[in-house]
Amino acid sequence: MTVTPPTVAAETPRRSLRRFRSIKGRETWAGLAMMAPAGILLILFLAIPVILAFTLSFTNARLISPNPPRFVGLDNFVRAFTADPVFLQSAWNTFVFALVVVPVQAGLGLLLAVLVNRRLRGVTAFRVIFFVPVVTSIVVVSILWKFMYQKDGLINSMIDTLTFGAWSGVDWLNNPSTALGAIIVLSIWQAVGFHMIIWLAGLQTIPEELYEAAKMDGASPWRQFTNVTWPGLRPTMVFVLVTITIAALGLFVQVDVMTQGGPMASTSTIVFHAVRKGYEQQEIGYASAISLIFFVAVLLVALIQRRLTREKA
């Protein structure tokens, strides 16, 4: 058998094949292949919608229209801040909601976590009870609470019984001064279990020896909490605060199911307003502008929070 010398023509493809077969090349190839599913999904469902929303917010695009969208510059943004009282009201409601929910939910979650972190009989049962609302669909929860908040609902009959008929409660969701409060209470109740679990995870990372040492030094339970528990929870706290804030700013389902933003826009939120404008009234361009404002606001809040809670060197 004679060995034929390789021709030039055969050389070229073989060289590129060799590059594919080299270990580095193969790794790149495998890496890209593994990344592809996630990459495609991210581009399709994250990057493209974001770019689209950004672009649409400078046009007067409609959901259903024979007219092509027209570039309108900053009109949509100007309209939101100067000619749309419901938007301003929604922004204010969202702000109030977050302002109440963030500290109260985080605090209650921590309290519950400390309580269920004890080595007691049946503590798992308590953990489950506190966590049940979290795994129940928020739509179901909202519908149930809507019934409870009715004028002759559970909450009012409870108040009626407890005060021996002296005060029979108000129509919670149909009264502009109580509707947002009612939604705040429900929202805190629903999600507090989730944050309890996260706090709990944080609590369990604190080494037991620290408590033993503290006890030997004669520290009271309160001193143990302020000097051992709280510093140990710092990374957890940052996480909990950021997630609650983002969730609170995105309030939508409870409003959609329970009040539709009413009465008198007292429960309308930024996201709800964007959906109402963009979908019900088909003004996709304007709704994109509202979403963009919302995005910037969330980004700012998250950055500020990050800065305030950063590790000081």
Partner: protein, 430 residues
Amino acid sequence: MKRRTIPILATAALTGLLALTGCGQAGQGGAQSADGRTQLTMWTHSAGNPAELKVYDKIIADFNASQDEYEVVNEAFPQGAYNDAIVAAAASGDLPCLLDLDGPIMPNWAWAGYLQPLDLPEELTGSLLPTAVGKWDDKIYSAGYWDAALAIFARKSVLEKNGIRIPTIDQPWTEDEFAAALAALKAGGYDTPIDIGAEDTGEWWPYAYSPFLQSFGGDLIDRSTMLSAKGALNGPEAVAWGEWFQKLFADGYAGNSGTVGNQEFVDDKVGLSYTGVWNALDSLDAVGDDLLILPPPDLGNGPKIGGGSWQWAISSTCPDADGARKYLEFSFQDEYLTAFADNQIVIPSTESAAEASKYFGTDGVLRPFVELSQKFAVPRPETPAYAVISSTFESAAKDIMSGADVKTTLDNAVSEIDANIASNDGYGFK
């Protein structure tokens, strides 16, 4: 290495896109059936309504058996997801040949170019109730087998006991008489004398309550131009309506809690119920001969009720519109219209079908609805802006119900509607 990344990503993206467009191809018309007939796709919103679907199945079976050129293939959607399905299909160019639609949304879809004019014979469309025919830009785009109507349900015995005059279609209650009747019922032991269904949301609000506004002399929009709601929705008549509506709730005559539907009337928890023909049979079963079907009060400009229910249209992308037309013509036989009416309790859209109906014939127990629909029905404004008008009216009326200042609320609603019309270059009305 960099050079190779691009083709790989491009291939991957292309595969993804192909997969997506592959999904989108279903539902398109123009296919052939096994025996070589042209298939006409048809979408209905009646998946949750077996009574209605049964009649459609019968019509389609009869039509398919009657000729060898076309075959209609029906696909039923649940009502809640139906409009979204249509809009999505339109965006991807996959509309079925035949589709049904809720009356007030038709101008929006016709304007957007989803639909083509029906071009059914004039003697057919002329024989239908005016509110069962959908017109946009002087052309007929949709036609329906039935219409719905609202009325006030009452018990004869209750009215007589409380000394309230029983109104007739020729002599409905006046505003004062209506107020006196409510007061008498409240004094007679009803906590909320009338159930107007305010616990419901969505299209019910403009459908049910804008006729009161029209009875006062206002309207949702200036129908002569369709370009502005100014004067119609915030003029003195509209303000009078708002104050009247607000007072209903403030005085405790109507409530907004309870269940959607007519159960409170059936249980005798309310004296009067403002509700639709579709609830009539249940009430009849419960109340029997004592049931009265009364016109709504005359608040100054005669009683008004909403008109316009589900209707049929042909999509603009239908590859064989003649076949679709043939099917629609076939389907408008009295026999089917009567079947719809008696199965679903809706008003048949031709007089002859009504005559043949068990409930809506001259001696039928639900006959008053036919007359109410003929005499008092007002279609909702036929403009693409209706989607905005509808949701704006709903939130304004809800605010008024909750005690908001009437004039300010209506002024805001008007500026919201007008801004929307302006930003859409008048929706083709200029």
